[in-house]
Amino acid sequence: MKKLILTTTAAAMLTAGAATAQDVVRLGTEGAYPPYNFINDNGEVDGFERDLGDELCSRAERECEWVTNDWDSIIPNLVSGNYDTIIAGMSITDERDEVVDFSENYLPPAPSAYAAMTDSLDLGNAVVAAQTGTIQANHVVDTGATLLEFPSPDEIVAAVRNGEADAAFADKDFLADVVEQDSQLMFVGEDVSLGQGMGMAFRESDPELRETFSEAIVAMKEDGSLNEMITEWFGDGAPTFE
């Protein structure tokens, strides 16, 4: 019991001096989904969403801090208040919308694709690897294929390489770099369009912050800077906003 009290007082003392004039916005991301978000070689969060998040924060005139969290528990930690928003390549879906609120989308619906070692594959009957809790995982179940779930995106590719799965199913922009740089891997089947684009997720009780960031996203859409950023990170062929 003494320990409990000690921890609380220690934490209270540590934080007592901090200024609370304008709260820092804590941005939660996964840090394992290049080029959306990843930890670069200096150990910092990098990627399209890093650039986007920093730009949105400067437009909204808020101070921001990046936090990484496992994909599995990324929504529970948002709702219990460990960070203020999720910006982690999360597709807007009705299912997630019941728990959190999404901002204006910052990426239009992008295709998901299958990567495999051979093109003679019956995708309806194959073992397909997808990341746990993603729209891709839900889709694999709908197609009737056998779903093999992994906690991180890197592991679904590893599962195809070592033969555990026949194909990996993820956002095409993530797989594009992987497939390009591995002569054994290729895209198979048709691309699938899932979700309603990607957006930032907020607590349902936090409408002001969501409004602030939605406005900044709309402003970036209007002046074309968002499209520029998309093209810079995802190449000329990437879908942009009208």
């Binding site: 219990s80 770099d177 349902e204």
Partner: protein, 294 residues
């Protein structure tokens, strides 16, 4: 880190490897070994203290204290670790915030639970959302230590209460015959002698604790297993140091680390056991006496 490392694309062979192994991410990886070691160094004594408290409470003559001690060991030992680590930490964190909320924001009229959201006033957040990242990390680490200490404390309590019962009754009786009070026989006779009986059980717990540290990542602390997985995963050209899947090598490194740690622990524990056996009425104590006499 080094001047030569500014453009990794131009490097090859050993120079590339040297730069790769000293980039910021690897420094964080090396730092996480310290995190794990300091977690062990802090958790072990705290858990032992919890265990001792639990064992004393469980044999207390005051009924509510005894019930508390017995309930603590029974409940914590019965709940699977992973449930404890996933559920308990969030509950503990919310419990702290709720207490602070009650104290700091008495005028708050909105409900704390709104759907799945847990809302306390900004002053009650723990740590404050304006505090720097290291405070958040330190707080996470503190929660991890506390959770580990509670879990392992329950096992230690069971080991210690067994050890207390294993001390020969005659030893305590002799103390009583000299007129010592209950408290005196406990501290002067029972406690110094029980350790030799507790040591095998405690050393098992220590070994399990050493191997349980990867659970840290469930608590949001970036430990060696997290970094090994992150660094070992295949890297495309978007990274400065692209490489194929090297997880095997990283995990081999961890294997060596854990084996080394358990080996060192075994040596240290064997020495402690030898020292504790001195003058004890056990087979090990007898062997020691003969060795000294020869």
């Amino acid at each position: 880190m080094f001047q030569a490392c500014t453009d990794p694309d131009t490097l090859d062979g050993l120079a590339w490897l040297a730069c790769y192994l000293t980039n910021g991410k690897h420094i964080a990886f090396y730092g996480s070994f310290l995190t794990v070691l300091s977690l062990l160094a802090i958790t072990a004594p705290v858990a032992l203290a919890f265990g001792f408290g639990g064992a004393v409470a469980a044999r207390s003559r005051i009924a509510p204290l005894r019930w508390f001690g017995q309930a603590y060991t029974a409940i914590v030992r019965g709940v699977p670790d992973i449930v404890f680590f996933l559920f308990f930490v969030i509950a503990l964190d919310q419990g702290f915030e709720w207490l602070r909320h009650k104290v700091k924001c008495p005028g708050w009229d909105q409900p704390i639970r709104q759907g799945s959201d847990f809302i306390v006033c900004a002053e009650a957040k723990l740590p404050l959302s304006s505090s720097p990242q290291w405070v958040h990390e330190g707080y996470g680490f503190g929660l991890a230590v506390l959770t580990f200490a509670i879990v392992f404390g329950a096992f230690a309590a069971n080991v210690l209460s067994g050890a207390m019962r294993a001390v020969p009754r005659a030893q305590v009786e002799t103390g009583e015959a000299y007129g010592m009070t209950h408290r005196q026989t406990f501290w002067r006779i029972l406690v110094p002698q029980m350790w030799v009986y507790a040591l095998p059980g405690l050393s098992n717990l220590w070994m399990i604790l050493v191997k349980a540290t990867p659970l840290l990542f469930l608590l949001g602390v970036e430990d060696i297993v997290y970094w090994a997985r992150e660094l070992g995963g295949a890297k495309t050209n978007i990274y400065a140091y692209p490489h194929p899947d090297w997880r095997l090598w990283y995990f081999l490194g961890l294997l060596v680390f854990y084996l080394g740690l358990t080996k060192v622990s075994e040596i240290v524990l064997a020495r402690i056991n030898d020292r504790l056996s001195l003058g004890q009425a056990t087979a090990a104590g007898e062997a020691r006496r003969r060795r000294a006499a020869a």
